[in-house]
């Protein structure tokens, strides 16, 4: 009878250990490449903005990224800073495409535009959005490369 109890205890402990490992793996945040996010980045890079050489010749987002990375103080025809217009445009585009509130499946987003230099990566604009504090969200992410080592990254937290 003692042997039976010992075997049961041993099996129960092994089962609990496996269950613990399984649940830990399931609760960890995991990032997946998302075609939807990739399609968004592709589409948003072509977006005609309200900033340009003149009110008739408006830049697209790709051009704003290039100009902002070249000179962060550069301005549009309406004297707004190119980097600020870029940030505002991307922020509005993301919020128009997904809803981020308690009742929607998408909870938060985090976007970065980085420029790779020989030493490290620097932010072209300060990151948009935030990384939520709890780490059990599923992340759907994508990147879009631009010339001159610039990368646009977007993470959507579900």
């Amino acid at each position: 009878m003692v042997g039976f109890v010992l075997i049961m205890l041993l099996v129960a402990i092994i089962f609990l250990v496996f269950l613990g490992i399984y649940l830990r793996g399931a609760s960890k945040t995991h990032e997946t490449e998302s075609k939807e996010v990739a399609s968004f980045l592709e589409a948003v890079s072509k977006l005609t903005t309200e900033c340009g050489f003149s009110s008739e010749y408006l830049y697209d987002v790709s051009k704003l990224i290039f100009e902002c990375s070249k000179n962060p103080e550069a301005t549009c025809h309406n004297n707004k800073k190119i980097c600020n217009v870029l940030k505002e445009t991307l922020n509005n585009a993301i919020n128009s495409t997904w809803n981020f509130n308690e009742n929607s499946p998408t909870k938060a987003y985090f976007m970065q535009i980085l420029k790779e230099t020989s030493a490290d990566k620097i932010d072209v604009i300060s990151p948009i959005g935030y990384i939520p504090p709890r780490s059990q969200y599923e992340i759907r992410a994508a990147e879009k490369p631009f010339p001159n080592g610039i990368i646009m990254k977007l993470e959507i937290y579900y």
Binding site: A43, K46, L47, T48, L58, A93, T97
Partner: protein, 166 residues
């Protein structure tokens, strides 16, 4: 007596392992059904994404096609052709929505209001839109206010597609 105890113990061990196996297979089968559902949804979303790359909707400038950009001017033209509404793409519903800049009105697009409208419904063969999948796309239309004589204006949109039910 000892043999009887042993037999009871073996039966108990068997029952215990059977219960563990049942729990394990329940977890595994629920994961498989989740994965199958994800795949079905992904396939439907792929259909929505592919629609932006069809020659009938795709934007091309000076003979260089851009596969992820929907030409609204072409789409308006398609809407007027009945041939595309019945069985050409095997779709029950196909619409393009302007997302950003957000239009001020919620109206349907036509050739006159292309700059201010929100929806362009090309195919609408069903009342039941459950299962419609969407994908972000760039949309483009000819804006006569840009440039000296007009230019293409790119915006952010969504394509909505629902495959025909068998």
């Amino acid at each position: 007596m000892k043999i009887q105890q042993m037999a009871f113990m073996l039966v108990a061990v068997m029952i215990f392992f059977s219960m563990v196996a049942i729990v394990y297979f329940m977890i595994v089968s629920s994961k498989i059904s989740d994965t199958a559902e994800d795949l079905r949804q992904e396939e439907a979303k792929e259909l929505a994404r592919q629609m932006a790359g069809t020659p009938e909707l795709m934007f091309s400038k000076r003979s260089s096609p851009e596969s992820s950009v929907v030409d609204l001017n072409k789409a308006i033209y398609l809407k007027q052709h009945r041939a595309y509404q019945k069985g050409f793409w095997n779709l029950d519903y196909l619409a393009i929505e302007r997302v950003y800049p957000r239009p001020s009105r919620q109206n349907e697009c036509d050739a006159e209001n292309l700059g201010t409208c929100r929806f362009l419904t090309i195919i609408n063969n069903t009342q039941d839109l459950v299962g419609t999948q969407t994908a972000p796309v760039a949309i483009v239309w000819w804006d006569s206010t840009l440039g000296p004589g007009g230019d293409y204006r790119f915006e952010l949109g969504r394509i909505h597609a629902l495959a025909s039910r068998p």
